[in-house]
């Protein structure tokens, strides 16, 4: 180990972590744009708060449970020997992944979950639920011994977040007015699709840190080439996802649904996350495109099942996360059985523990905002403000 490569890899790790941290901005913008304006401020607050809680809980407990990194962080490296990068940079990179998993929940429960109940769940999710299942694979546990392969976390981060989101959404129920009396889904339009666009670009950009950083090192001929391949494939998959969803929507409905197309780009990114390295750029494009097709039908399907997910998080991160993990086996870079066992284990653990935690919160402080608050918006009731005070609320004509 040279001092130079140690410095380069530490720097690369930290900057990758910064890109993933920036995904919090992407989630915030995307979610704020997808909800109605009366809930936009609350969702901004929620995204900041969940980020802070994730960082604090992972520092205190989660990092120890997942990697044995010590409660409130153990000692920093004392020598270059056997160390590729600073131990602190490893923590920094890992902690922003937890925040990503929690952000996924935030979008799915938008517009109807109590702010502080959501944050209470965030404590359990980021301190225990996510780190325990993460320890099975990335922490060197039984799933990694089994041969489960999930490079940057299609299953470990994205599907895990979506499984928790599903548990919450099932107990919350749909937003008021989301379904007609005979069960038909009603369109509840987002307040600002321009922000959704910005949020999607930010997530797309942050994903280079998410996947690229997961190579863990940059220094040396092989690592540098690997990182470049990962950047190319990550980008290609998003392109494939976006175009596939656009084309499906245009063919089936005659209109190119904007927010579904942007979900398609994110689906492409989730799909390639389990292995952005070993495939060609063309194969990555196709893996992303399949993700884009899946997400289209998943979003419409969940909507019909009365699983109300305002931003499509369960479909983008969960259903496509499953595809991403299986795609590694489809491409011949992992066995099917360990991939399936890994998915089943992560889903079962996350869904069951999340369901229990949310049920406990439901029975104590409650999870659903009162009807009046849901009607008037969480901005006024939770924060005492409105996100857009200069705009008058328009009557529904």
């Amino acid at each position: 180990m040279s001092e130079l490569s140690y410095a380069v890899d530490t720097f690369y790790f930290l900057m990758s972590g910064v890109l993933v941290m920036w995904m919090a901005a992407g989630f915030t913008m995307l979610e704020a744009g997808m909800v109605r304006s009366k809930n936009a401020g609350e969702i901004v607050m929620k995204n900041f708060a969940l980020y802070a809680i994730a960082c604090l809980m992972y520092l205190g407990v989660g990092y120890q449970l997942m990697y044995g990194g010590g409660y409130f962080l153990g000692a920093e490296n004392t020598s270059l020997e056997d160390n590729y990068y600073s131990g602190r940079s490893d923590f920094f990179f890992q902690v922003v992944f937890v925040a990503t998993a929690m952000s996924i929940v935030s979008g799915a429960v938008a517009e109807r979950m109590k702010l502080w109940s959501f944050l209470a769940f965030g404590v359990v999710m980021t301190a225990i639920i996510y780190p325990i299942q993460g320890s099975w694979s990335w922490g060197g546990g039984w799933l990694s011994e089994l041969g489960f392969s999930d490079f940057a976390g299609s299953g470990i981060v994205h599907m895990c977040g979506a499984a928790a989101a599903l548990a919450a959404v099932l107990q919350l129920g749909p937003r008021k007015g989301k379904y007609t009396k005979d069960g038909k889904p009603v369109a509840i339009q987002g307040s600002n699709l321009v922000l959704v666009g910005l949020g999607t670009w930010i997530l797309w950009m942050g994903w280079f840190g998410f996947n690229g950083g997961s190579q863990l090192q940059l220094s040396g001929f092989d690592n540098a080439n690997a990182v470049a391949q990962i950047f190319v494939n990550t980008n290609a998959a998003a392109v494939g996802g976006l175009l596939a969803t656009m084309i499906v929507a245009k063919l089936l409905t005659g209109k190119t649904d904007l927010t579904l197309a942007l979900n398609g780009a994110l689906a492409g990114l989730v799909a390639i996350t389990a292995d952005p390295l070993s495939t060609s750029a063309l194969a990555a494009t196709l893996i992303g495109a399949v993700g884009g097709v899946i997400v289209y039908f998943s979003i419409l399907g969940l909507d019909k099942l009365k699983i109300d997910d305002p931003v499509g998080a369960i479909s983008v991160h969960g259903v496509v996360g499953v595809w991403g993990v299986l795609a590694v086996a489809v491409m011949g870079n992992a066995e099917f059985i360990p991939q399936l066992i890994g998915l089943a284990a992560i889903f079962a653990w996350t869904f069951v523990t999340s369901s229990v935690a949310i049920y406990a919160i439901k029975k104590t402080i409650g999870i659903r905002v009162p009807v009046k608050e849901e009607h008037e918006g969480s901005d006024m009731e939770e924060l005492g403000l409105t996100a857009y005070p200069e705009f008058k609320m328009s009557a529904k004509i």
């Binding site: 038909k184 889904p185 009603v186 369109a187 339009q189 409905t253 209109k255 649904d257 927010t259 579904l260 979003i299 419409l300 909507d303 499509g312 004509i397």
Partner: protein, 112 residues
């Protein structure tokens, strides 16, 4: 004097305005309105879920003209607002009992 009211498609407003001006009309009032006609609005899709647009955006024009100018104005509006498709709108004409120019207190056709 007659009061002409026309509901037209918003994108046709500029053409209508130019055509009406050829009839030597000095004033025109425009309001953005919403409404429905025989088609009762239409449905759109958002993330796969249908929603009904009950009221479509239209522009309402109002002019007051001399009796012998009515045909010119109505023809001008018909010629320019007609797209041949549903939702082109309507024109109606009513009598005006009195007209006053506020600044000068002129009355009747002098106030046109």
């Amino acid at each position: 004097m007659k009061h002409i009211t026309a509901i037209v498609k918003p994108f046709k407003l500029d053409e209508v305005r130019e055509a009406v001006a050829e009839c030597n009309v000095d004033g025109l009032t425009v309001t953005e309105v919403k409404g429905y006609g025989r088609q009762k609005g239409h449905t759109e899709l958002y993330r796969g879920a249908e929603y009904v647009i009950d009221f479509l955006p239209k522009v309402k024009l109002e002019l007051i003209v001399a009796d012998d100018n009515v045909d010119c104005v109505v023809d001008a509006i018909i010629k320019t607002a007609d797209t041949g498709k549903i939702g082109d709108g309507k024109i109606w004409v009513t009598n005006v009992e009195e007209l006053v120019r506020i600044r000068t207190n002129e009355r009747g056709e002098d106030a046109l």
